[in-house]
Structures are given as structure tokens and as C-alpha cells.
Symmetry: none
Subunit: 208 residues, 4 copies
DNA sequence: AATGAATGAGAGTTCATTCAT
DNA sequence: GATGAATGAACTCTCATTCAT
């Protein structure tokens, strides 16, 4: 599979793996893919250039791996996000609000990951990234589509718009809110309020 | 002021100015700022390297100038967008819908400009662009804020959220829709329907 | 002796030996020595890097070994090529023509070997290859010199030119013909005609 | 046209042009194209990496240019080589012998050029060189074909073989002789004898 | 007002080889 | 006997920028 880092990488001690991933995360988060420098990454990771290419297929492969790694870290930090199975719209939205809250907490506690993922989402439309970096997108898609269609089935989500448009709108909204939350971090105490506001915005857009 | 291109530039014959701006537009639209190459731009514009640096302060200055140029071109193609002064919410939204329709028509007829602006908006959060490229953002802000506050005054726009958040949400929404419209271009006949759907989405988010 | 591959190599099962030689043949034939990559060879051979260096002294040693291997394979495919012992010139040339025919058949049925040997012969003058790769040349020399001197003794070959020059001329001619035969492969039916033409060319050069 | 070096190059002072060409000649002659290093060339030429790429399109372009330059130098050292127009075979061969003598003298006085061209001819069949380096071949072809067909018309050259084969044979022969002459340089006094021997070899192959 | 020659720093990538295990 | 992790040096090539003319 593409973007998976060579198996060799996973045979490194955790410490070194982390050093590399941290260095890459820092660089990619701070400068985006195009402006990131492999030289800086290997230097700050303390490995040789040859080693980097021994572990990864190249810059894109590394990027894809870091994205995937952070995505999984964020998603699996405290358990999975099962597709909501609620029967009534209220329950459906409640579950999603819970997910969103968890996500926000994770991202606000890890600004670098937030920046990395923001840059990645922003460039989602750009075709300049090869297949590797786009592979991660594909992994979230089934979950999103299932959740969407569940929502539609139980009457929580409108059916008069194309699913892709709904998804895009939600993510665009989410990204805007995400950016705003970064600049205006609510005290943890009122984070729940913020999230419920966000969910309200999303519901307004998405509800029938 | 930063990002304004040197006054020298405006003393060139229109033809040369256009050649430069076209070349830059093509390059920046196709590759984004970071991956764009000044060398390619001057070559395709048919000017010398020295001239480029005589007219512009550097890559970023050129980028800022192109952004501004396209922004103005789009905005002023068929007259200004005066801040709506309507008294009643319905009229307010009608005016905005008209603006949006004009904007969409302009962008759909000029995909390069659309791509350029999309890339620029996407990178809005990224700090890697210097002050120059961010200057253009500042120019739209007053208009947006005035429109927003008008909307709030006449009861068309909610007042329970921070203005920046409202703005961000609208733009995030707009961007998502924009991307979607690019991939699924409606026949011109139904463009109005599409726009009214979009306006509806925005109103849902923004209305009190 | 240099270029002989370490004896260890011959203790491998035939299968593995073949895998290595095949991979190396493919790479060297396709790219020539300088552009060939050991990494690609070991990967396609399915052996470890350590093993490669355990079996061979390095890139050049491997190259020399492959050359020798193909040379022997071609020469010994269907029996040896004994130095002609004929008494009369006609018989002498008939024997050589037979040899040449066998050689051509072998090479035309094995284009990779043909390409490998062609590249090797072409680089014969170049000093960039170390002693190892040149060793194979030395092995053919005695046979050639003996055949040449036999030819001279029985009056089939001129004696007014330096042996090295005669040899070089014959091989240069042969190489040119070889290349031409590759591009214009005669039907197997007329291969004999082609070979007799070739032999005629050689005789013209070499006969007294 | 390909392989022509950028016009910028020709605007350099002769001294610098020569420094670059000399450095490139030395490197390419000594190591062949694949093993040559641009780094070494620029270092020994005393120019920066950027400059090299300012003058030439890349390694291949430089190689093609050096080939062409040496070819022209050798060919035009003392006047052109008009296609022989003689009516009788003896005259035809005499003219060619004269050409060959001039060529040999030139090459024996300039071993680096000889080595460069030898390497280039040897790799002529190899497809690894791009179009640039092969362009020079095309320039000699018309002359060769015209000379060949003249020879055939006046009965100096056999007509029972494909022209490409005849050409190949002559060049293969020539190359072999060339190599031999390098290793066994005849005193200038007997160079004419050597050349007439060579011409005799060629005539044997090529005469009807 | 305009040119384009010149450059150094740096890009990503591949390489043959070593050696501890 | 065999492995593969590790590397540093080298590779070709592109870049934005400067500045003498």
C-alpha cells in the first residue's frame, strides 16, 4: 500500500521512530509540504540522509506517513469513533457533538498536529500532491459517507443536496471554526459551549 | 505600502504589464506560491530577470500583486459591490445573492483566477507567507466588516457570535461550495438556482 | 585470481545462483556497467545486500563474473570450439564459419546476453573498468591467437599485419555486423546466407 | 536545435569558453558520459554550478556540445571534406585515403579528442543517451551516404549489401584500427603507410 | 530604464560499501 | 553464513536574488 513507510521503519526503537516523526511533524506543520525541507528534518531528527531514504520512499512518502500517524493518533487516542447508529436525530447529533468535542480537545492539546492536518485539508483540492499523500483522504471517506447516509436515513440530514456538497460544506465550516478556535482558544471550561455552537452551525447547514 | 508593486510597473505599456501578470497568474494558479518558479514566469512573460526585480520586490511581492490584480478584476468587472444599505433582511440577502451570482459567474469564466484565489484563501492560515501576500486580505476586510455590521443592524445577521467567526464560517462555506461548483459546474441556466442554494446555506449559518 | 567470484558463490544452490546472475544480466545488459545499480540487482534477485558482498567483491567483480558466465554459456552451449586444425584454407574457413553460425544463433536467441557482451566489447578500450572486468578478455585471447597462428601457418591468414591489428579488425567487423544483425534479424532460414556473407567480409580483410 | 548549448555560452570570452570545454573534454574523454561528473567539470573549469546550468541545459547538452565542438574542430582544422566527385575508382579511393590521413593526423595529435569520439562512437548503439547526444550522428550521415552512393555509382563500392551494413562495417573497422593506432602509434614518417594499409583493408571489404 | 550574467545555497534522490549482529 | 541497518559522499538540477553594465 502506498504511503505506508517501509516496514524497516517500524523495526526501529520507538525512540528513534518518534524522533523522526517529531522532526517531520514540526517541519511539515510549520511550513507545509512544499516548503518543508528534508535536510532540516533529518538534521533535527539526527539521522543521515541515507537512513531517511532507507526508511521512507521520499518526501511524499514521509509526509503521507506523518499524516496517517497523526490521524490515527488523534482518532484512536481515546477509543474509536463508531458510525452513529442512533434512531432519532437528537441522539445522532449528540453522538457527533461528542466526537467533535473529543477531536477538538485532542487538536487543541496538540497544535502542531492541528496545523499539519489543517494544511493537509487545505491542500486537499490541489493536484500537486501525488497519490501517496492523498491516500489518507480515502481512509476517512467511508466513515464520513456512512455517517452521512445514516443521518439521512433517520431524518437528521437533508437529502436535497449532493452528498459531496454536504460533506464539503461541513468540512469547510469545520476548518473555519478550527482556525478560529486556534486563534481564540476557549478556556477548557467553555470548550463544550464552543463545540455546541459549532454543532449548531453544522446542523443549520445540514439539517433538512 | 507593501505588496503594491513598484510604481515603475504601472509605467509599462499595458501589453507588457498584461504579459507579466498573465504569466504569473498561470504559474501561481497551476502550482501555488511555494512551487511556482520566477524563472518560468519571466521566461513565459518574455522579460528579463533584471526587469522583474526592477518592477517587483521579489517573488512574494509579485504574488501579492497578482492576487490584488485578480481580486480587483473580479470585483470590478461589472461595477462595484457597494455595501448593501437595505433596510429589511430580505432585501439585504437579495443584494448579497446578486453579488454572489456575479462573483460566481466571473470565477467560472476564469478558472485560473479561481484557482489562484482558492490557493490564496487556503493558505490564509499558513504563516509562511510574509506580510506582502497577506496585505490583500486586509483590503477586503473593511467591506466585509461593514456589510456584516449592516446585516446585524437590520437584523439579518446574528449577533451572538464573534464577527471573525461569522466571517470565517461564511468564507469556509463559500470555499467548499466554490470547490464543489468547479467540479460540478452547473449549466449557466441553473447557476441561479445553485447560487440561491448557496445563499440559503449561508443564511442558515448566519441568520439569527 | 581477480573476477572469479568467491568460491562461496558456487556453494549456493543453483537456483539462487541463477537468480543472482539473471538479475545482474538484466541490469547490466539494459544499462551498461556504469549505469547499473547494485541495489536494483539485489532487489530483483531477492537476496540481501550482505549476501551480495559475501559472494562478490563488489560491483565490478559481479560484472566480471556475469561476463564470464555468459561467455562460457554461449561458448559451451553445444560443445567446445576447438582450435581448427585443418590443413587447407578452405577447410579452415569452413570450420570458422560453422563456429560463427553457432555463435550467432546463440546470441540471437538470447538478446540480453548479446546486449551485455556488446556493451562489454564496446567498453573494451575504456580504462574506467578495473582489472576485474578486463580479465575475461584475457581468457579468449589464447584461443584467438592460436586460431590466428594456425590460419597463418596454413596460408589462410595474411602475415603482413600485426596479429593484434588483425584481431582487432575482425572483432570490429564482427561487432558492426552483430549490431546490424540485431536491427535486421534475418529469418532463421537465411541466417546461413548472412553468416557466409559475414565470413566473406572477414576473409576479405584477413586473407593474404 | 538540440545540443547546441545556449546562445549565452557563445557570448563568453573565448578563454572561458575554452576553459569549460577543456574541462568537459578531459572528463568525458577520461570517464565516458555515464561516469563523468559535472561537479568535477565545473570545479576544474572554475565556474559555479549555477553558471554551468546557465550555459548548458544539463549534462547531456554539455556532452553533445563537446562532441560537436571536437567534431567540427577535427573536420575543419584544415578545410572541408567535400564528397568525392571522381569518375574512376582509383581516384575515389585516393581522395578518401587523403581524408583518412588528415583525420588520423588530427586525432593522433589530440588523444583526448580521439578518446572522446571513440567513446561516443562506441556508445552509438546504446539507447541510454538522449536525443541530444545522438544529434551529432545525424550530421555526419548525409555526407557518408552521399560518399557511399557516389562510390557505388562509379563502381568503387559494391552494391550487393545494404548501405547501413557497409557503413557499419567500415566504421567498425575504422574504430578497431583507430584503437590499434593509438596503442601502436606509427612514427609520423610511416603514418602514410599505415593509412594506406587501412584503406586497403576498407577497400577489401567494400569493393565489389 | 533595462539587461542578463553570475552565483551559492540548497533541493530531493541514489549510490556502493561497511559492519555489528 | 547471512543479514540488513546505516551511512556519507556524490549525484544532477533548480532556485531566488544580486549587481555591474
Amino acid at each position: 500500500m502506498v504511503g505506508m513507510a517501509r516496514p524497516r521503519f517500524h523495526r526501529l526503537d520507538e525512540t528513534q521512530q518518534q524522533a523522526i516523526l517529531d522532526a517531520a511533524l514540526t517541519e511539515f506543520a510549520a511550513r507545509g509540504f512544499a516548503d518543508a525541507s528534508l535536510n532540516r528534518i533529518i538534521e533535527s531528527a539526527g539521522i543521515s540522509k541515507g537512513s531517511m531514504y532507507y526508511y521512507f520512499d521520499g518526501k511524499e512518502d514521509l509526509y503521507a506517513h506523518v499524516i496517517r500517524d497523526r490521524l490515527e493518533a488523534v482518532i484512536e487516542r481515546d477509543g474509536p469513533f463508531p458510525v452513529p447508529e442512533e434512531r432519532d436525530p437528537e441522539g445522532f447529533w449528540t453522538v457527533l457533538a461528542g466526537y467533535y468535542l473529543r477531536l477538538m480537545r485532542a487538536l487543541m492539546g496538540d497544535p502542531q498536529t492541528a496545523a499539519l492536518l489543517r494544511g493537509w485539508l487545505a491542500g486537499a483540492g490541489t493536484p500537486s500532491l501525488g497519490a501517496a499523500a492523498r491516500e489518507a483522504e480515502q481512509r476517512m471517506l467511508p466513515w464520513l459517507m456512512q455517517t452521512l447516509s445514516t443521518g439521512q436515513r433517520i431524518g437528521a440530514v437533508r437529502t436535497d443536496l449532493a452528498p459531496e456538497l454536504i460533506l464539503g460544506a461541513v468540512m469547510g465550516l469545520g476548518q473555519a471554526i478550527d482556525v478560529w478556535l486556534i486563534s481564540n482558544p476557549p478556556a477548557d471550561a467553555v470548550l463544550e459551549d464552543a463545540v455546541s455552537t459549532v454543532m449548531d452551525l453544522i446542523r443549520r447547514v445540514v439539517a433538512p
